[in-house]
Subunit: 326 residues, 2 copies
Amino acid sequence: MSGSGEFELIASLAGRLDPADGLGIGDDAAAWMVGAGTLLVATTDMLVERVHFRLDWTSPRDLGWKALAVNLSDLAAMGAMPGRALVSVALLPGQTAIVEEMYDGLSELGRLTGTRVVGGDTVRTSGPLVVNVALLGEAEPGRLLRRDGAVPGDLLAVTGAVGASAAGLALLLEADPERLARPEAAQLLAAHHRPNPRLAAGRTLASMGLRCAIDISDGVASEAWHVARSSGVEIALDADRLPLNAGAVELFGREKACQFAVAGGEDYELLFAVPEARLAEVTAALGEQGGATVVGRVIGQRAGGRVDLLHAGRVVEPGRPGYVAF
Amino acid sequence: MSGSGEFELIASLAGRLDPADGLGIGDDAAAWMVGAGTLLVATTDMLVERVHFRLDWTSPRDLGWKALAVNLSDLAAMGAMPGRALVSVALLPGQTAIVEEMYDGLSELGRLTGTRVVGGDTVRTSGPLVVNVALLGEAEPGRLLRRDGAVPGDLLAVTGAVGASAAGLALLLEADPERLARPEAAQLLAAHHRPNPRLAAGRTLASMGLRCAIDISDGVASEAWHVARSSGVEIALDADRLPLNAGAVELFGREKACQFAVAGGEDYELLFAVPEARLAEVTAALGEQGGATVVGRVIGQRAGGRVDLLHAGRVVEPGRPGYVAF
C-alpha cells in the first residue's frame, strides 16, 4: 500500500491482534526479551514486482541486495545489529535463474553486514515476482531507538545526504538519454538500487543513549510525521537545511532535489532526535558514518503529533506533510 | 514450487549462502542459540492465491488460520513452542476486508497456541493475494527434533490419522454435490481448511529425548524420504499400516484414502522415529495428543537415503516414492 491507506489498514489490523508484551506494530521493528538478557529485534518487508521494482530496471542481484537492505535499515533505526534472515520468494516457473542471482545479491550484502540466511520458502506464482525478507537481530537491553522517543528541546538530524534514491528513480521514469549520460547519473541509480543501511550509525546512536530514530524509507517529511505522532510532539522541519545529495542537485536543480528529499523516499538514512547539548558529541561520533545534519527541532508537546514544514522561510505545509504535493 | 523442482532450487539457493552456524536450510525450521541458554527456532511459509488456496473455496478467516498453522506445524516438528509471528500480505486495492478477516483467523489460532503477531508488512500487488508468515519460537537446548535423527532399529510412527486433508481437497476439486452432502464431508473440508498443528505432541516427543520428527505437509511417503535422505538410512514404509482418516475411507474407499495419505499431504500430523524399546512409553504419552501408530521401520544405514514403500505385501515403489503416481 502507499500513502495514508497503508497506515489505516495497519491500524485496523493491529486492532485485531492481542496487545504484544514487547514493542510491537507501529515502530520500525518489533522487539522483545528472550532468556536472561537478550533483546531480540525483528522486522519484515515484502517487495512486489511492478510495485516496488521492475525487472527491466533492476538486476536480480540488485533486487536481492535491496530486499535485504530495506530490512537492515529497519534494524539500524532501532539501534540493532543483524542477524538472521528468512527469505521467501514467489516465482514463475521460468524465473529460477533470476531468483538464484537475487540470492547472490542478498548474500553479498549479508556478508558485508553479518547477516545469515537461515531459511526460507520458494513457491510458485502465476503473477508478479514477490520477495519477502524477515530479519532478526539483537539490541542492547535498554538501548533501543524508538519512534516515540522525541521530547521538546530535541533537535532532529539526519545522517548522510538525502534525495539521491528518488532522483535515481526519476532518471529511470523519465528515461531521458541526455540526463542518463551525465556523470552523476550512475551514483543516483546506485543509490536507488543498492541502498546502504546505516547499521553502524544506528548502533552509535543507541550506544550513546539516544532514544529516538527512524529510517528514511519514505520522504523526510513523512518520517518526521511518524516521529511527531508516536512521540506526541510538534516538530518544525526546515526543508532548506536538508543535506541534499550533490548529484541530485547537479542533475535536477536545488528545488527539485529538495522535493526528492522531502517527499521522495528510499534514502535509508536515519532521522534521529538529539538533545541540543549533545549535538557536537553525537556529530563527532557519526563522523565516519555519514555525519549528521540538523534539519529540525521538537518545539513542544502536541497530542496526535504535528509537523510544520518550513521552506524559504515560511510554513509551506502545516500539520501532516508528506502526502500532499510539495 | 512443487515436486522435485522445489528441492533442486532450494539446494541451489542454499549453496549460494554461507554455511550457518546453527541448524539451517534443509530442516523444518532453522535453529540457533542466543544469549546464555535460549534456543531460537524460526520458519517461514508463503501462500499464493490460486497455487495454495482459492478464495472461492477458502474463507479469508480459514486462510489466516492456515497461514499460521503451516508455520506452527514446522515448529511442532522441531519440538519447539511458539512464538512470535511477522505477517506480510500483498493485496489488490479492493481486498482490504479480506485481509482484515484473514487476520481474525490468524489471531484466533494465535490465541489458541500462544502466538503473537508482532509485526508485518502490507503492500499492494497487481496479481494474486500473497501471505507470508515468519514464525519464531523456542526449544529446549539439546532437545531439538530433526530430520536427520533416525537410526537403524528405530520404528517410524505418525500421530493422529492421515488422508483427511487430501480427501477434503478432492471433494472441492470434484465438486460432486452428492458426496459433498454426506455427513463426513464437513470434517474432511475442515481438515483441509483448518489444520491443527501438533505442537503438544512435538513438545512431548522432544521432552522424552526423541531425536527425529518431520511434519506431514506433503504425503507420508515424501516425508519419509526426507527423513531417509537426511539421516542416511533405508526406511521400510508400510502403506497398509497408515492410520487412515475414517471419513476419507467412508467417502472414498480404503484404497483411495490410502493414496491420499501416502501422496496427498497437508495432514500436518508428525512422522517421527522412536526406538522400539520406547514405543509403549511414547505411545502412552501421546494418548491425548493424537496417539501414535507405527507405520514403518529404519532397516539400515544407506548413504543418500532410500524408502521402500510396501502395499498389499509387496514393494510398490522402491527408492524414492512420493513423486510418482501410487
